[in-house]
């Protein structure tokens, strides 16, 4: 089991969380949607695996490169 950190590509706000802890996700599945510069930015899972950590909540601010989700492969 290797854990993969999913980072935010942008500075912005958490608009909607789509995944829950324990979910099995496929590569490309949308984990959450961020909002930045008035755009909805989907955060896709880079790998297939299980969501083990959600490090942010709805409406939290996120920074570029901040780890927001952890997936166990």
């Amino acid at each position: 089991m290797a854990s993969v950190n999913v980072e935010s590509e942008v500075t912005g706000k958490v608009w909607k969380i789509e995944a829950s802890i324990g979910d099995n996700v496929d590569e490309g599945d949308v984990l959450m949607i961020l909002e930045s510069m008035k755009m909805e930015i989907p955060v896709e899972s880079p790998v297939s695996g299980t969501v083990t950590e959600l490090r942010v909540r709805k409406d939290d601010s996120v920074d570029e490169d901040q780890v927001i989700v952890v997936i166990e492969q």
Binding site: M37, K38, M39, E40, P42
Partner: protein
């Protein structure tokens, strides 16, 4: 008496030169997962095409007691060769000798490589691995020293001149520090290997001494650092892939500014229309879309070669072909800061426009520009200075240029997307103006909004009213765009434009007034 004895000695020396750092040196290089410079050259070039220059160049070597012990080959290998049957100059440090740090003959050859490319008007490919100068000097133990004469040309002049005359490509296959790191930056295209290369101004020992920080080479200058710093354009899993990228990059460019871009036969139908383009842009302007997919649907199949994807990621740049003609492609990625022009995106954009202008590569620009990035970080970075440099590069560009307004076009940053005499097309999905509606309404109608009973509802109401009043048709009626088009027609129309610009491309040869700087 013939000259047989000297010729025999010459043969011996040539053989010696090819031994590089000896079996041990070569084995060590392989153990680190890296190719030797001669293997790199063979991997890059068409088989059997390498013609080495200065094979017998060497320096006499002395031991610590200053006793003569023999010759060491110059630790820079240089010559002519062919890529897809087109001539190039190749060169690179021999890391199996003295860790690539230049000996005097090696340094001379490394500088000559640049001269050779400019003199013969062909691209230069550098395969870099090595450090800069050493306090031990460049093998100069006796006499001399004190530096070059005051009237000799600066060593860096030819490096700068080359950027304005011939395509310059650099590949880092190992640790590259000091002067070679500078060469890496002074390139039109650069690529490093993901696991075996680092690029450093100064290595770990220097950093620890100067700053008291202990970091590995990889932590300081690995691929994960420099794809984001923008120092390198691309990263590759191994050297063969990195060198393949160098070949691909060169396939779009002329041999020098004195030639035309190489147009090839395309087997992709210029009238091809992709149905998906009709709905690729969501009607909800807050919803993003995959602009790379859009670009690849319009360009010749599989011809898009992206550069620097991880740096300034809100702006995509790359080379592609349309009806076989190489073009520079730019597109905003609305999934990163809505495509806003950050300081990094602006620098990436400026360099790319300058490169296209230098080599007379026509540009196709897909505009989804919400403006310069705003906010405290953007102000601290002086974003608008870099932004204006991007605007200036476009405003002074001399190449044929097509701009396709696909989504948004707001603010001064949008000016960077048009060159003089641009061919301007618009999709029905475009919104333009001084400010996007959302922010713009908050500024222009702030009194009305603040005094309303429900300010949020009031703002939404004004935004909705203004949005409804927007229509793509007036811009066509007033001839502020050449054509308002069906997105599916984009490829046929652009391929048609490619035919119109052919006579113009014939006349656009030679150096430009303002070339590219690193």
């Amino acid at each position: 008496m013939s000259w047989a004895a000297e010729v025999e000695e010459l043969r011996r020396r040539r053989k010696l030169a090819k031994l590089q750092g000896g079996e041990d040196g070569v084995a060590k290089q392989h153990a680190r997962g890296r190719l030797t410079i001669r293997e790199r050259i063979d991997t890059l070039l068409d088989p059997g095409s390498f013609q080495e220059q200065g094979l017998a160049t060497a320096v006499p070597d002395y031991d610590d007691n200053d006793k003569f012990v023999g010759f060491v080959p110059a630790n820079y290998v240089l010559g002519f060769g062919r890529i897809d049957n087109r001539r190039v100059v190749v060169g690179g440090e021999d890391f199996t000798l003295k860790g690539g740090s230049p000996n005097s003959a090696g340094l001379r050859k490394s500088i000559y490589a640049e001269h050779l490319a400019v003199q013969y008007k062909i691209p230069l490919v550098r395969m870099l691995e090595g450090g800069g100068g050493s306090v031990k000097g460049s093998g100069k133990r006796r006499g001399g020293g004190g530096g070059d004469s005051v009237f000799s040309e600066p060593r860096f002049k030819i490096i700068s001149d080359a950027l304005g005359e011939v395509p310059v490509v650099s590949m880092a296959g190992g640790a590259v520090a000091g002067f070679p790191a500078g060469r890496m930056a002074a390139s039109h295209f650069s690529v490093m290997t993901k696991y075996t290369a680092q690029i450093l101004i100064g290595g770990p020992k220097l950093v620890e001494r100067a700053l008291g920080v202990s970091l590995t080479k990889d932590e300081l200058g690995g691929a994960h650092i420099h794809t984001k710093s923008g120092l390198v354009d691309n990263v590759a899993d191994d050297e063969a892939t990195a060198l393949a990228q160098c070949r691909t990059f060169l396939s779009y460019l002329p041999a020098s500014v004195y030639e035309r871009t190489p147009r090839i036969e395309s087997n992709d139908d210029p009238t091809r229309m992709e149905e998906e383009l009709l709905s690729i842009i969501p009607r909800d302007s807050n919803e993003g879309f995959d602009v790379r997919q859009m670009v690849s649907m319009i360009m010749d199949k599989d011809s898009f070669f992206e550069m620097g994807a991880e740096y300034g990621a809100s702006q995509i740049v790359g080379l592609a072909r349309l009806a076989g003609q190489p073009v520079g492609v730019m597109a905003n990625d609305c999934r990163v800061y809505a495509g806003a022009m950050t300081a990094e995106a602006a620098q990436k954009y400026r360099r790319f426009v300058e490169m296209c202008d230098t080599f007379h590569v026509p540009v196709v620009n897909f505009i989804d520009q919400p403006g310069f990035m705003i906010g405290p970080e953007a102000e601290r970075k002086g974003t608008i200075r870099y932004g204006m440099a991007a605007v200036a590069a476009a405003a002074q560009a001399t190449i044929p240029w097509a701009s396709i307004q696909i989504h948004k076009g707001f603010g001064v940053a949008t000016a960077a997307h048009y060159a003089p005499n641009a061919y301007v097309l618009a999709w029905p999905s475009v919104e333009t103006g001084a400010l996007p509606l959302e922010g713009g309404v908050a500024v222009a109608y702030h009194r009305e909004i603040e005094s309303a009973e429900d300010p949020i509802a009031k703002r939404a109401e004004i935004e909705e009213r203004l949005r409804d009043a927007r229509s793509p048709f007036p811009r066509a009626e007033s001839f502020s765009v050449h054509e308002l088009i069906d997105p599916r027609e984009t490829r046929p129309i652009l391929c048609n434009w490619i035919e119109w610009i052919q006579p113009q491309l014939d006349t656009l040869v030679g150096p430009v007034k303002f070339g590219m700087r690193p």
